[in-house]
Symmetry: C2
Subunit: 197 residues, 2 copies
DNA sequence: CTTTATTTTCAGTTTTGACTGAAAATTCGG
DNA sequence: CCGAATTTTCAGTCAAAACTGAAAATAAAG
């Protein structure tokens, strides 16, 4: 592995964490190298820096492209494909969350919806279905909220995150000062907060 | 596998998704059975329901305990260990997020902090460090916000999630009406919102 | 259309992780 | 303590995934 020590430490960490993140070591390392690099790299650059086979790099890049985590750049007068990660780390997080949701949550939502349609044939199934309903509601709430957040510009999102729980204070303030202005009624409407707590 | 069809479908799905979630098939299936069950189950119940070896169940339960995802229950007059998942699905999500953060994010934060302390030895390392700084800041912001959320009671948390982006509207309203009351100043203080959009 | 640079695919190999049965350890009732 | 019930550990086996080198496919240049 031919990398400056600092970068190498970063890359090795991403490789090790890869397994916990559901990607393999090489994919994690490729991503780390691209992320830390100050210029686009081609497949052979990665082979040299990581010391893995050319075909392994090819597969890794393909996987990262499937995740939308790398961008293809073309250097004029060079036939090779060069790759980068987006400059904006927020864009990266958005993609990451989006893709993980698609792979790790959406299929479960679909499955739950299907099973909740079926008529339970016993008390055991009735109870199981009640549990699934709880799970389904929770995931729907979370993904709905996520869809809202995904729509925000980064600046507003950062503002919201920075506020943290202070938002709750603001909500309490709002509740104390105003009656809910009649927005389009949703199933789960905001309950008026108790004055203190 | 001896399970009612509806439960079986649920369990098989969890088994298949297991690999995407970073747990193995059996662990996913054990969790699903416990989650859907209307009573605590012992290891042998799981062996019967899932048709896997006793030792596999033992290891699976150990892993779920390490994740704090199952609770040990003792039935009076029975020496065996019985297991359940928490009734409250929100409690489950809290644990899940907490544990995933501990395993998948905290180690990276630590690594980044260490590498950011080192003096860069080249322009390449300087650039890599700048990228790491971006990543570090972003993760700090997200985990800080998460810590805030984790502290909220479930009711307030649900309220917040239900509001979604409507919170932004409330913030804009607040910004228009008041000057920030002088809270303890944090590095990233809320910027006053532009009047519209 | 041919040549050459580059990327992709794939069969075979290696590595890693899951699973099992048997043996060891633990725990509780007597 | 002893012995039965139960759980855990672990060495060996099996299955899945990662990785490689070589061959095939692709794409641009001449």
């Amino acid at each position: 592995m031919t990398l400056p020590p600092l970068v190498q430490a970063f890359v090795l960490h991403f490789g090790e964490m890869g397994s916990r993140w559901g990607i393999n070591r090489t994919v994690g390392q490729i991503y780390a190298v691209l992320f830390a690099s100050d210029r686009p790299l081609c497949a052979d650059d990665l082979v040299e820096r990581l010391g893995v086979s050319r075909s392994n790099v090819s597969m890794g890049l393909k996987e990262l492209q499937a995740w939308n985590l790398v961008r293809l750049k073309h250097v004029p007068g060079d036939r090779r494909d060069f790759f980068t990660t987006p400059e904006d780390v927020w864009a990266i997080v958005r993609t990451l969350v989006e893709e993980r949701k698609k792979r790790e949550i959406d299929p479960t939502l679909t499955m739950l919806r299907e099973l909740l349609m079926q008529a339970p044939a016993s008390d055991e199934e009735r109870h199981a279905q009640a549990r699934m309903r709880d799970m389904h509601e929770l995931i729907e709430l979370l993904t709905g909220w996520y869809a809202d957040m995904q729509r925000l510009e980064t600046e507003r999102l950062v503002q919201l995150l920075t506020l943290g729980t202070k938002v709750v204070k603001v909500l309490e303030m709002k509740d104390r000062l105003f009656v809910m202005p009649g927005g389009r009624a949703k199933k789960t409407e905001t309950r008026t907060a108790k004055p203190e707590a």
